[in-house]
Amino acid sequence: MSEAVLVVALALVVVMATAVVLTRDPARQAIVLSAYGVTLGVLFLVLQAPDVALSQIAVGTVVVPLVVILAIHAIRKQHGERR
């Protein structure tokens, strides 16, 4: 059974990673990236690495999305002012 959990977690990670790459609009991509981070966290716990899972969740849920969104915001504003 634990093997099945592993396979499912791995499959979710692969699907989400591909999805992150294929989402071309950065703002939408950021949301998918957050979701991807959650799947990574689950996979790491399944692989018996709670320290790494904790790290991934800490970085991937708030800090990285916030940086990405703020960057997009700064860039959008730039473009808005130009037009």
Partner: protein, 81 residues
């Protein structure tokens, strides 16, 4: 426990994640908001299944931060998103 975790992973986390893949940002955000707590539940169940109370810390942090993570997007929806 393990079975419950598996079922939850397939039946709840999976669909929530898939919701983030299509639609406009608000729809995607719904998926993300659902994915946080359901994944937390999965982690709780896994912790029990592996007989490792130490893993609960991970679930605790995911529970706390996934809420904050959803807020990040909620804050910007209609503005940048």
């Amino acid at each position: 426990m393990m079975t419950a975790a598996l079922v939850l992973l397939v039946a709840a986390v999976g669909p929530a994640l898939l919701t983030t893949l299509w639609g406009d940002p608000a729809d995607r955000l719904t998926g993300l908001i659902l994915a946080g707590p359901t994944a937390t539940m999965v982690l709780l169940l896994l912790s029990a299944a592996y007989h490792r109370p130490a893993y609960l810390d991970v679930a605790l942090v995911l529970g706390l931060l996934s809420f904050a993570g959803s807020l990040v997007y909620a804050r910007f929806i209609g503005r940048t998103l």
